[in-house]
Symmetry: C2
Subunit: 455 residues, 2 copies
């Protein structure tokens, strides 16, 4: 079936996916199992029950179920802000003078401002079903914290958020949004946990890290009756929920008789990228198609392009199980001048495995080039992108410009994960010409690698 | 035709209106003409050419053409962010326990964050067609300035924005958004115009007013070769462009076999309200239907509910023609504690006339009650509303609660004009309990009325 190509294509409610898709079911070589850091033995689903909701722990471990029914209630919530539009970037193409066809899936049309809500509502739902008394989490740039605050408000679940201190200080408005949705916010490191107090003792002026905030949030969850911890990226369960992005995209592209030659997504922990590529990667795993799939990461936090594929802790205080992933070491912190998210030391184990096995590529880009792309895109497409999303824009533009040189009419699909309304300080620095780049030297990275656990 | 009612209804591109609708064509009693403040004689279209684009001046005066073709280029631009969704507030209804059916038209899904882009792109288009070298405008809360910056960026038109100083100081991020789209921003009063210098001389610490910023923007336009001035509300041309909101709403409601019993919109200068109600008011004017139409304004800036229906200047420095409208006097300034927009001293002459002739109602609401409604709405509907939009939410909720008392199943439609991402200081004050209300006394208003021009 084919149709006239609209600027924005919205699926009808009837067309929305009723199941999530799990990539692992189609991976012949599965990601390596999580290990107990003491015994180095693989852990089981039940081992995670003290930390995660049981249903989510199950999703974390189940690597054979291909399609998971989306509970009715979650489907109903999705309908409040989904389907998200698949947008043809007619104006961007024209401004670039490229023969390439550029599509993007825009996930910013909800108050949380990003795709994070897709998993937040799922995790809040399962928490409610289990009768939990509250949840804890961490947030870096603030998108995940906002999304989860929104989801918890919907289900009346108390929420405590540990927000990386540099964001807490620089993004007071993010904090207020979360508070408006009823969440309690602490800057991390905080003096409310042992992990936080240890970090403050080591460095009273610590600006915090995502890994550190994770340590605090987990400690708070496991030491509070009826609480559990939730995470917005990296985990297998998160990629499962985020598959809605790719599934919708694929249906929409089929309606247009299109199939992407190149799929581009920004990659921090991998939640958006893993969701966007899911059904296309399935085609690739099953030998049905062979799109190029490109992960884009900041040059200042290059876990895929310069990290090690190794077992590592998921947090700074080393209280989590070990996961096999591309990592810069659990103590890694992006430099102070790094704007926005995409600041996690590791990467989704699923994506790490796929990258390691050659099913996808990765590039890193510098932030001034990223903001250049963001401002150019905004002027053409009327959407002010989040810095994270702009990483994908940068690479999509670069690929479209290559098509201009070669004259190839490739079809490019990228994920526009969210809006930049809370990142105006960074845009201001870019406008003023005071934004700088930072690429860690090999020496900078060596310490992180040296501290990797011996497995 | 009827269908299962979805959460969000998006028209297809084919269904989008290709013409704007002009309410004046169907008003038996037209609004009174604009007057030259010196001669008190009606002015003509050509008299506005030094200030406005010719085509826009024409639209300002034409009160007989019922439907105006939307130029192809504008239709194409609209398709980048329209149609906006008509949303059924299922969750809000449930939370309120009301038998009422609540729909809202959500105009916040674009970077400008509001409906203002609908007219901004039209005005920028006509400026481009006329070969203008630049545009000037004013902005209060910043929505109009952002929308126009976006539209001017698209057409590569230089733009100078005079931003009410209190907003300039309190909303640095709004400023950065406009700068990212390439606009030059001055706080008003500024020392770059005679009007601004006079205001600074009278009060060096002036926090500015919308009327004052208008004076500066007009002066700058008429004293700069090839420049013209544009305005985001109040004017007839703006209501014409904004009719796209109501036209889309009506088509969507017809698809659902619905017709609103009550239509609610916030009212500052009247751009959103006039657009939302246009085709429904047409039905009312033609005796085809009789929906209640309610304008909601801040208790702190009550032009309809407590103003005079009189000829007045549209700006503070008294350089504009006189318009017959509900007004608090051109020197009126909302109190410092007033958050957000809806701070203009007057009201669209079209809406003023319709209100005066009994075709619509008006209510005023206090801002703490407005933010209470905003926070409640956000938790149910996943959209963080702009303070302006929340005025309509407040009244829609109040009407829905009346239905709960009476058991009536009324259909309520309200306009959700935009998002509150740049209003987090105000949300913060509400969350902290430090937000206050202000209702001007009769004495406060008397000075403004005394200064009205003698016509």
């Amino acid at each position: 079936m084919s149709m006239k190509i609209p600027h924005r294509l919205y699926l009808s409610e009837d067309q929305m996916p009723k199941q999530w898709y799990s990539l692992r079911a189609d991976m012949k070589d599965k990601p390596d199992p999580m290990l107990n850091p003491g015994t180095l033995e693989p852990i089981g689903e039940e081992d995670l029950y003290p930390v995660f909701c049981e249903k989510l722990a199950h999703q974390e471990f189940d690597d054979v179920t291909r399609y998971v029914d989306i509970p009715e209630e979650i489907q109903e919530f999705y309908k409040m802000y989904r389907p998200s539009p698949l947008i043809r970037a007619f104006n961007l193409e024209k401004a670039l003078g490229t023969p390439a066809k550029i599509y993007y899936k825009f996930e910013g049309n909800n108050t949380s401002g990003s795709h994070k809500l897709n998993s937040a509502i799922a995790q809040a739902y399962y928490a409610k079903k289990q009768g939990l008394k509250g949840l804890t989490t961490e947030t870096g740039a603030g998108q995940w914290g906002t999304a989860l605050a929104e989801a918890c408000a919907f289900y009346n679940i108390p929420l405590t958020v540990f927000m990386v201190r540099v964001s807490y200080d620089q993004k007071p408005f993010r904090k207020i949004v979360m508070q408006t949705f009823g969440a309690d916010i602490f800057p991390s490191p905080s003096d409310t946990t042992n992990a936080g107090r240890a970090m403050l003792e080591a460095n009273p002026n610590s600006s915090g890290s995502l890994g550190g905030a994770i340590s605090e949030a987990i400690e708070k969850a496991v030491t509070t009756e009826g609480y559990r911890y939730v995470l917005g990226s990296v985990l297998n369960q998160v990629l499962l929920h985020q598959s809605i992005i790719g599934l919708e995209s694929k249906i929409a592209m089929e309606m247009l008789d299109e199939y992407p030659d190149i799929i581009v997504g920004c990659a921090g922990g991998g939640s958006n990228l893993g969701g966007l590529i899911a059904p296309f990667m399935q085609d690739k795993l099953l030998g049905k198609a062979s799109p190029r799939i490109i992960a884009v990461e900041p040059a200042s936090c290059p876990s895929l392009t310069r990290g090690r594929y190794a077992y590592d802790f998921c947090d700074t205080a080393k209280i989590t199980p070990l996961a096999k992933m591309y990592t810069l070491g659990s103590g890694f912190m992006p430099s102070q001048n790094h704007a926005g998210g995409l600041r996690y030391h590791g990467m989704s184990p699923i994506l790490s495995k796929l990258y390691h096995d050659g099913f996808m590529e990765a590039v890193s880009v510098e932030q001034t080039k990223v903001f250049e792309a963001a401002a150019f895109f905004a002027k053409q497409e009327t959407i002010l992108p989040a810095p994270e999303s702009a990483h994908a824009i940068r690479t999509a533009i670069d690929e479209a410009l290559k098509c201009k040189e070669t004259g190839e009419t490739k079809t490019i699909l990228f994920g526009l994960t969210g809006t930049g309304y809370f990142d105006m300080s960074a845009y201001g620095a870019y406008n003023e010409g005071t934004m700088t780049d930072y690429i860690p030297s090999d020496e900078d990275l060596a310490a992180g690698f040296a501290a990797l656990p011996q497995v």
